[in-house]
Symmetry: C2
Subunit: 142 residues, 2 copies
């Protein structure tokens, strides 16, 4: 293992590795239940604002803009703990999810469908069909 | 919302969205404890092999090759459930982790360090200092 790899994996210096688009992947779980809520991305500015404020800020790849989670929906996320992985190219946010859910489709978690195993052309199966809020009421017509 | 977006978010057709490098992000948790073990990536072939076999296959971005988790370490992952998120660009694998850990550094989880909040130049804090296995014994000298 190189000295640089050793420092990244075993050191105390936070040196997040952003990808070619300047983003780092964030896994977001509910600090209480441990449930996986969503996967999102941060750029350097979103990460700085998150660390400073304790509110989750992301960078929207589709809208190409910085975004404080909850600024449209009111469903913000207070960060209870922020972790980084061995090679410092992924982050884990344990959050207190405010409001009824994290997903823009109106569900608590974005991961509401399962892919059956052992099959070829897979048909998805809903695991959480019901919404916890009405996305049209929260975000307006899309 | 467009018809295409509606089908991706609410439909039953699995249409995973690979990024410009042909990869999709995978969040991997312990099916028993719910603990976040690692973040990895799959290409289309790794995803097909995972669905067919029930063993976790990934694509290594550093080694640029398909890789069955555990083929070097013996620490494989049996997939208990596979989920996809709303916009079908992230996967969640709930796995039975075989052996003492998922991380190549010798720990159970890759997320063994925390980034303190409310500080500027952040110094990492270890949350799991101890290794659950000796990586040199498992992988050989690196």
């Amino acid at each position: 293992m190189s000295a640089a790899a050793g420092e990244i994996e075993e050191g105390l210096t936070f040196q997040p590795k952003f990808d070619s688009e300047g983003l780092i992947t964030c896994v977001v779980t509910d600090a209480g239940s441990g449930e996986l809520l969503m996967v999102a991305h941060m750029n350097a500015e979103a990460l700085r604002k998150t660390i400073e404020s304790g509110d989750a800020w992301y960078f929207s790849r589709s809208r190409k803009q910085l975004w404080r989670k909850g600024e449209s929906s009111g469903h913000g996320q207070r960060v209870v703990e922020l972790r980084v992985d061995c090679d410092q190219d992924s982050l884990w946010l344990k959050v207190e999810q405010q409001g009824p859910g994290a997903c823009h489709t109106g569900r608590r978690s974005c991961f509401y469908r399962a892919v059956p195993l052992g099959q070829g052309a897979a048909t998805l199966e809903f695991r959480e069909q019901e919404r916890t809020f009405d996305p049209e009421a929260v975000y307006g017509k899309k």
